[in-house]
Symmetry: C2
Subunit: 233 residues, 2 copies
């Protein structure tokens, strides 16, 4: 395979990658709000203004890290799902949950950037972040959709109907995430999605407190099972 990139292009790509790596490591030690162009430049061994060859502004640097984070998480989730048999719906759901948690525990600062407090003064540009940002929920929807199509979803009979306005929201969402499942299943899926991240956030962002749970693994596994129950898997 002929490499059509010039040395300069390769050097540029490498530097951009270095900037991202350093940025993420600074996220870890200082937090997103304290992420500084100058600090990244310092660690890259370059004068601060040089960074502006690669990044338009500090906000642009943040966007770089956001997209990089979403992509890494998305890749790991996809890889985890791919390892499970297609007809093991519950197994695929559990694999997604475990992948999210594993990544979050390994990259708590990036997790906090993506799923924690908004960074003051920073507005993520939707056209660059929306795609990567919807990969996890996309993977989840696919699991429920496959399970429903296979007739493997068991929901209680006495489920109340989805209210009108919410049903309209679900319809709109299905333009992006096509699905033939009943609206109630989608709503349950949204709960499971939010709940999954709630569990991970409590652990990663430190809500449980330092000495409350020693068996967090067991707790999380049980939480996944309960959420799988709720979505009828």
């Amino acid at each position: 395979m002929a490499d059509t990139t010039t040395p300069r292009e390769r050097a540029r790509a490498q530097t951009l990658q270095d900037i991202t790596r350093i940025g993420r490591s600074h996220l870890a030690t200082e937090g997103a709000a304290a992420l500084s162009v100058r600090a990244v430049a310092r660690e890259l061994g370059v004068v601060s203004s040089a960074i502006y060859r690669y990044v338009r502004s500090r906000d642009d640097l943040l966007t770089l890290l956001v997209v990089d984070g979403y992509d890494e998480l998305g890749d790991e989730v996809d890889a985890a799902v791919a390892k499970v048999a297609v007809d093991d719906h519950r197994g695929r759901f559990v694999a997604i949950g475990r992948a999210v948690r594993r990544w979050a525990l390994r990259e708590p600062a990036t997790y906090a950037l993506l799923f924690g407090s908004p960074v003051p003064g920073y507005q993520a540009p939707g056209e660059r972040t929306t795609g990567p940002g919807t990969r996890v929920i996309g993977a989840l929807v696919r699991v429920w959709e496959d399970a429903y199509a296979a007739g493997a979803v068991r929901l209680p009979d006495d489920t109340p109907p989805v209210p009108r306005k919410l049903a309209a929201d679900v319809k709109r969402i299905r333009r992006e995430f096509p699905s033939s499942a009943p609206e109630d299943l989608t709503v349950r899926g949204v709960l499971a999605w939010a709940a999954l991240f709630g569990c991970v956030s409590f652990e990663v962002l430190g809500q449980y407190g330092p000495d409350t749970f020693t068996a967090v693994d067991q707790l999380f596994e049980r939480q996944l099972q309960l959420l799988a129950d709720t979505t009828g898997l």
Copy 2:
């Protein structure tokens, strides 16, 4: 009722309260990481060093805001629960959930301080924050405990046993939150607790995206019902 406080003491209390109020409003516009002693002083109409009469350091100011936030949330949750009949267990759970969400939507910045990303370089002093910080989960535990004591909890029969290490955690937790309910119910409660905050965080911190849900109220109500189901209420 004789007021035994001196004018000086009253003035001091008033100023402390002003500092807290201003601090929280700055949280809203700038975020926790950018909270600055100087900015608070400026808005209080006082020279920056004057703040140090009231607050030992910037971290101490943050702690003030953390405690104030937990207390406000705790008060509103308690008030909401008190309005519901004691034997309406599901109603009490729903009331807690709604109170948390209402407060979070009204005070998103303080919510982010308490339940979002940790503030870099700041470690909350446990002896001042743990008490106020456990009021919501305390209220929830009381609901489940009352429901169980009244024989009103319906859980599936085929629930797997709680694993050994996790069961030990539950035992330890019960020293602080006494309960006679089966361990499985407590674990389900922890899920519901984390899931509740997961739902609120997604909405308040902006994970759902700007145009995804128009009927967030209906969505949240449904989520509460599903969580009540999960905990057998």
